[in-house]
């Protein structure tokens, strides 16, 4: 049984994979976030996709260095915004 965080982490991974055409069936790899961050526009698009998918709005302060370090961190931020 997946926890809420695990579920959100998996969804965030899927969104990232679709965006950069990566195989989402592969194990979650946080390095993909750095591929995304390598282009400002791509990074912004990823954040917007997350906001649309989960019907939330991140605070600008949520989008920081840590945000692009791990999918689990992103999941935590999504959960936080969902429960507000």
């Amino acid at each position: 049984m997946m926890t809420e965080i695990e579920n959100l982490t998996q969804k965030a991974w899927s969104i990232a994979c679709k965006m950069v055409e990566w195989n989402e069936n592969e194990p979650i790899n946080d390095s993909l976030l750095h591929v995304i961050l390598s282009e400002s526009q791509q990074a912004l698009e990823f954040v917007c996709l997350l906001e649309d998918e989960f019907d939330i709005e991140f605070d600008d302060d949520d989008i920081n260095l840590d945000f692009f370090l791990s999918f689990e961190y992103i999941a935590g931020k999504i959960l936080l915004r969902q429960t507000e």
Binding site: N29, D30, S31, H34, V35, L37, S38, S40, Q41, A43, L44, V47, F58, D60, D61, I63, N64, L65, F67, F68, L69
Partner: protein, 640 residues
């Protein structure tokens, strides 16, 4: 908040941006035109940068009024005169107490009027917060003026925190400038990082202090800023180019003279080394030619985040460490650090900082070839927490003191042993690899080779002298002095080491690949020509690429004839062919395709037929005896 205002000298402000709808904004514009500087009322921002700055300040201080001072120019660039005009306007407005200048002019001789205005602002109690240059080491004004608070980006979790840099340096403040989402032009957003945004955060912090401490003097506020600064905030760059790091200038005695050309004697404190980051090109040479390294390599560190993680063969190595554990530092005495500050990902830079911090804490020696990394390490070693550090920090470099000592060899007779140089038609051709292979082949036959390396890692691969020009170079010597200096170096190498042959190589390409003057100056071609003239090699091995045109290769041959009159022994060809892929209408990606053996042979035959000069794969060990034979025959009259 009464009449307190923050001025933002920038690209203007888009007051209709969703992030600024509740912000009280006014503004003005100064435009540089053919008729001179014109003042206008429209301060709308079409670029986005000024809007980002205003939005950061507004988020931190929602009730404060922001005054946009837009600078624009028909030529597209902001000069010091225009900046001075905007600044002058700000400091004579009665309610503006903080001026945010998230821009600057890189110059070594700043505009006197800008200096005068910054001093006047200080006298009037107006604080100017200005960004330092994003590239370390660049003087940038007004941030560099003592009357201005120069700001750089740091690792800060809470945006209300900041660091205060003690001392008389140009940078005073470290604030949040790392990756963040920013309001941008056309009511849009951008994810970016940089000193500009750190400056905006700090301007808001400073304004908050001023509001809460009305009437405080300029000096009193500086004290308040010091007292309330957070400790141990790490910067993402640093600006301190005045530090010198060499032995004192004095006439060398015999032992010192010999040591000049026996680099290993400078590294007697090294026994076992760890490399970071091993995915770097320079470290790759260390791994490939470890047999030339007089020290045992016992640990391999690499970035935790790899951009090209899809095909990095290094990740398959079981012994590469990508996290920091104290125990990993027990198996070596010296950490070798490469160009990690060039990383585009903050996380990898932070990892580099952490490795250095642990190395200092564990009292390890540190060798680096990046002057920026060197300065960072020296700075960290001087902090209170690291005051017990007794390790050595070393960087291969050439400055005027080395110059003075080496020049004592200039009166020796001309070098009477052969000098072979490896050069090439472009960069990334394996020129250092070729040198290491030649060294191995000749060394196996009993020849004593004195290696003069232009690669900084040559210091750890048995080179007798290192002249590290090229990327982030540490040759602090005017190029017009290279000729006499390098002539003296080859004499010194010959006199001290008594080699059978001196081996060296250029950095990067010898000639530009197009007629662009920008490329000529930016890509170090002129440096390489200076190097060729200074070394005056007897023979040359030239690296070529499969995609080279005949004309490009012929141009290099002609240049070698003109500048050194040296004999071209043979070509070495890289098996990597550069290809350009059209990724989109505006973007082209370059990639290197590894040629098959037969494909490479086709290219070799083609070039050999055209130039009537042998073309070989330097990594093919079947060529070793042929290479030895060619070199021996070339210098048979000199009794190699």
């Amino acid at each position: 908040m009464g009449s307190f205002k923050i001025a933002v000298i920038d690209s203007g402000i888009d007051a209709s941006h969703p992030r600024l709808l509740k912000c009280k904004i006014s503004g003005i514009s100064f435009a540089n035109t053919a008729e001179g500087i014109i003042q206008e009322a429209d301060y709308h921002d079409a670029e986005g940068h000024g809007t980002a700055i205003a939005a950061i300040i507004h988020k931190m201080l929602p009730d404060i009024e922001i005054v946009g001072v837009k600078l624009s120019s028909q030529t597209g660039s902001i000069n010091e005169k225009l900046l001075a005009k905007g600044l002058e306007w700000c400091i004579f407005q009665p309610d503006i107490q903080v001026v945010n200048v998230s821009l600057g002019v890189a110059a070594t001789n700043p505009y006197p009027e800008l200096y005068r205005l910054c001093n006047e602002a200080k006298d009037r109690g107006v604080f100017i917060c200005a960004s330092a240059h994003n590239m370390p080491g660049y003087e940038c004004y007004p941030a560099y003026f003592p009357s201005v608070l120069g700001v750089i980006s740091g690792l800060i979790k809470n945006k209300g925190q900041y660091g205060f840099v003690e001392g008389s340096g140009a940078v005073n403040i470290i604030a949040k400038g790392t990756t963040q989402r920013l309001a941008w032009a056309d009511k849009g957003y951008r994810i970016s990082s940089g000193n500009s945004f750190a400056t905006a955060h700090f301007s808001a912090i400073l304004a908050d202090f001023l509001i809460r401490n009305p009437g405080v003097s300029y000096a009193g506020m500086i004290e308040l800023l010091k007292d309330n600064a957070s400790e141990d905030i790490k910067e993402m760059q640093y600006v301190n180019s005045s530090e010198s790091f060499f032995i004192p200038c004095e006439k060398p005695n015999d032992a010192e003279r010999d040591a000049l050309f026996q680099l290993g004697s400078h590294l007697d404190f090294v026994s076992k080394i760890a490399l970071f980051p091993v995915s770097e090109k320079e470290m790759g040479t260390m791994l490939a030619f470890g047999e030339h390294c007089p020290f045992e390599i016992t640990k391999y560190f690499d970035y935790p985040r790899q951009f090209s993680f899809k095909n990095s063969s290094l990740l398959e190595r079981q012994d590469v460490v990508t996290s920091i554990n104290e125990d990993d530092f027990d198996c070596f005495d010296t950490l070798v650090v490469g160009y990690f500050l060039d990383q585009m990902f903050d996380a990898n830079i932070v990892f580099g900082y952490d490795i250095i911090e642990m190395a200092i804490r564990k009292n390890k020696n540190i060798i680096t070839w990046d002057s920026n990394v060197y300065k960072y390490i020296k700075k960290r070693c001087q902090t209170e927490e690291n005051k017990s550090y007794t390790g050595k920090v070393w960087i291969p470099a050439i400055d005027h003191r080395i110059f003075d000592k080496v020049m004592s060899f200039r009166y020796l007779p001309a070098v009477d042993v052969p000098v072979i140089m490896v050069t090439g038609t472009s960069n990334k051709q394996g020129k250092i690899t070729t040198q290491m292979r030649l060294k191995s082949i000749l060394g196996r036959e009993g020849y004593k080779i004195s290696h003069l390396s232009t690669e900084p890692q040559g210091a750890l691969l048995g080179a007798d002298f290192v002249f590290p020009y090229g990327h982030n170079d540490t040759v602090y010597l005017r190029e017009d002095l290279w000729g006499v200096f390098l002539t003296a170096v080859t004499k010194g190498l010959s006199n001290v080491n008594k080699p059978h042959l001196i081996l060296t190589g250029t950095q990067g390409k010898l000639l530009p690949r197009s007629a662009s003057p920008v490329e000529v100056s930016a890509q170090g071609c002129l440096s390489s020509l200076h190097y060729v003239c200074g070394i005056a090699p007897d023979a040359v091995v030239c690296a070529i690429n499969p995609q080279d045109t005949f004309q490009q290769i012929q141009n290099v041959i002609n240049s070698l004839n003109i500048f050194s009159n040296s004999k071209l022994l043979f070509f070495v060809i890289t098996p990597h062919k550069r290809e350009f892929i059209q990724a989109s209408d505006v973007k082209t990606i370059s990639s290197h395709k590894m040629l098959s053996r037969s494909e490479l042979q086709e290219y070799m035959n083609r070039f050999e037929a055209e130039f009537d000069i042998p073309v070989i794969d330097i990594m093919d060990r079947d060529n070793d005896s042929w290479i030895l034979d060619v070199i021996e025959k070339a210098f048979s009259k000199k009794n190699v």
